[in-house]
Symmetry: C2
């Protein structure tokens, strides 16, 4: 008997919810969950570490939202439908207010995308959240990083650099953090995974990745896995009004090129697919920008005013 | 460019291995893995926190082994066949020696049970390892905590209390830690998940759980989920020679009743199944002990010399 909330109480009170998906045969509460799966299963896992991926001041609703959003974004990049999640939550203490807010942020996003929490565990330790997400493929095959072909157009959804700019302001890397615009803060705290766009792209695009480590690093992964190069025009990068209102153009572009955390999709497709892809984005009310093309080279060529830049930073390095 | 190993190098060098299971369509290296699944999928996740679940002095081979073993044990308790794992690894620094030894411990166990590592991520932070394991069911349904019936015999595999005794000696909760017997240390450092026993039990047992939080707590979970009580005879608890050689009988029994970390199976079955269950254990060269029975009561009655004990500790509480 102990005064705080025990592991089993935490799970029961905050995380044991009736699964809505009839494919869930057994949910939270046993040694493992059991799900009825028929066909290709997509599996992603992503971890958030307090003080590394988000500042300790981030509201728990946002921590809950982001811990699922980063995984939803991985599945979006695979053109998969997210279905079932497991949550491994390591917590310094069992604070009911924190847990309630965290669960609210997590489940708001989960229910919006039809995801059931089927398992997980809670342990005591530094605040680290690891979510594992399972999804299914409705197309003939998954969208990967490896399918890009020279001549493909390169696209990104939404706008880039907002979340990285917010994080820089939040963590004081930028000197004046007194006036963090709420639009930028929202982009960091509540990233919107592009799940429906990914589902639509699974039949239209050749390759895709989500922008989590920075555009240069992530487009670089597509190039590496697709064994091709790319040209990217800095002038074309989609920059939000909020970002341009707070930072000079140069700094905004730097955030867009190398900042992670936006969780937009970067993908490539044949020029013939352009019209269908624009229609898809329109139907989802999503901004879409063509920023360059894949080449038969072996490097990522970032151009400004038609001249190659030496970028010198390869996105976000985790170590 | 940075001097240490980056996330992508760590994954490539230590964790990107060719999957041997043809069901793995896409393994480590993209936004997510893709697996061809047909039928019920079993999903478990378990986390180990340095300083909480194991002492910082534990060799990295053992950390790798245990991080997978605890999940294999969950699947064993479901009567499932383990197939695919994801690894979320949070590390204070990228030490090649540590990573190599950790991976050796992880993959030795993985390959022995035919498990492919299909995904994961590495992040920087305090040492925390979260493994998510997927498996399949070959029987008609999974073995759960909920199927126990009054009159069932209660069994445990192997011996109990060894790992808890080792941990107490390792962490200095026991005064004299100079002579930690190597058998006890091995039981803590390299627990052997009872996967084959679980697979065999799926057609024979009514309910099962793995002993990870301590026998009293874990048998309590079976009682709660099966809506029944249990009687347990302390005299019958299987205690190893190593444990009895190092501790007085009373202390040994206490470790067996409340110590976790043994990762033996506790399960219940109809008396008519006794012979088949004994034959199964014999064929696997596994010690099996009947320690009591399920009752139509609502409490776990722990008896010594025919009299009920007041245990007072409910196994391992995570908070």
């Amino acid at each position: 008997v102990h005064s705080g909330l025990g592991e089993f109480e935490i799970i029961k009170r905050y995380f044991e919810r009736e699964a809505r998906d009839p494919a869930v045969i057994l949910g939270v509460g046993d040694d493992a969950a059991v799900i009825d799966v028929d066909g290709p299963l997509v599996v992603a896992v992503d971890t958030l570490v307090e003080g590394r991926h988000f500042p300790p001041t981030l509201p728990p609703e946002s921590v809950g939202h982001r811990s699922l959003a980063v995984n939803l974004s991985d599945l979006a990049a695979m053109g998969a439908r997210p279905r079932w999640a497991c949550l491994a939550l390591t917590l310094p203490k069992a604070d009911p207010d924190w847990l309630e807010a965290f669960a609210a942020g997590f489940f708001e996003l989960a229910s919006r995308f039809g995801v059931d929490l089927v398992g997980g565990d809670t342990t005591r330790g530094p605040l680290i959240i690891s979510v594992q997400l399972l999804g299914t493929i409705e197309s003939t095959s998954a969208l990967t990083r490896a399918g890009g072909r020279p001549g493909d157009d390169v696209y990104v959804t939404g706008s880039l650099g907002d979340a990285a700019a917010a994080l820089a302001l939040l963590t004081g890397q930028e000197s004046d953090n007194a006036d963090l615009p709420s639009e930028l803060m929202h982009r960091f705290a509540y990233p919107e995974p592009r799940v429906d766009m990914g589902l639509g792209l699974s039949a239209l695009a050749h390759s895709a990745i989500d922008v989590s480590d920075g555009l240069v690093a992530d487009l670089g992964h597509i190039c590496e896995r697709s064994r091709c190069g790319a040209e990217l025009a800095v002038e074309k990068l989609p920059l939000s009004t909020a970002l341009l209102g707070r930072f000079p153009l140069d700094a905004a572009r730097q955030f867009a090129l190398t900042g992670g955390d936006d969780y937009e999709l970067c993908f490539t497709a044949a020029p013939e697919a352009a019209e269908a892809i624009e229609q898809l984005a329109d139907s989802l009310n999503l901004t879409l920008t063509s920023i360059g093309r894949l080449t038969d080279g072996d490097r990522l060529d970032v151009q400004l005013g038609g001249r190659s830049l030496d970028i010198g930073v390869a996105g976000y390095a985790h170590f």
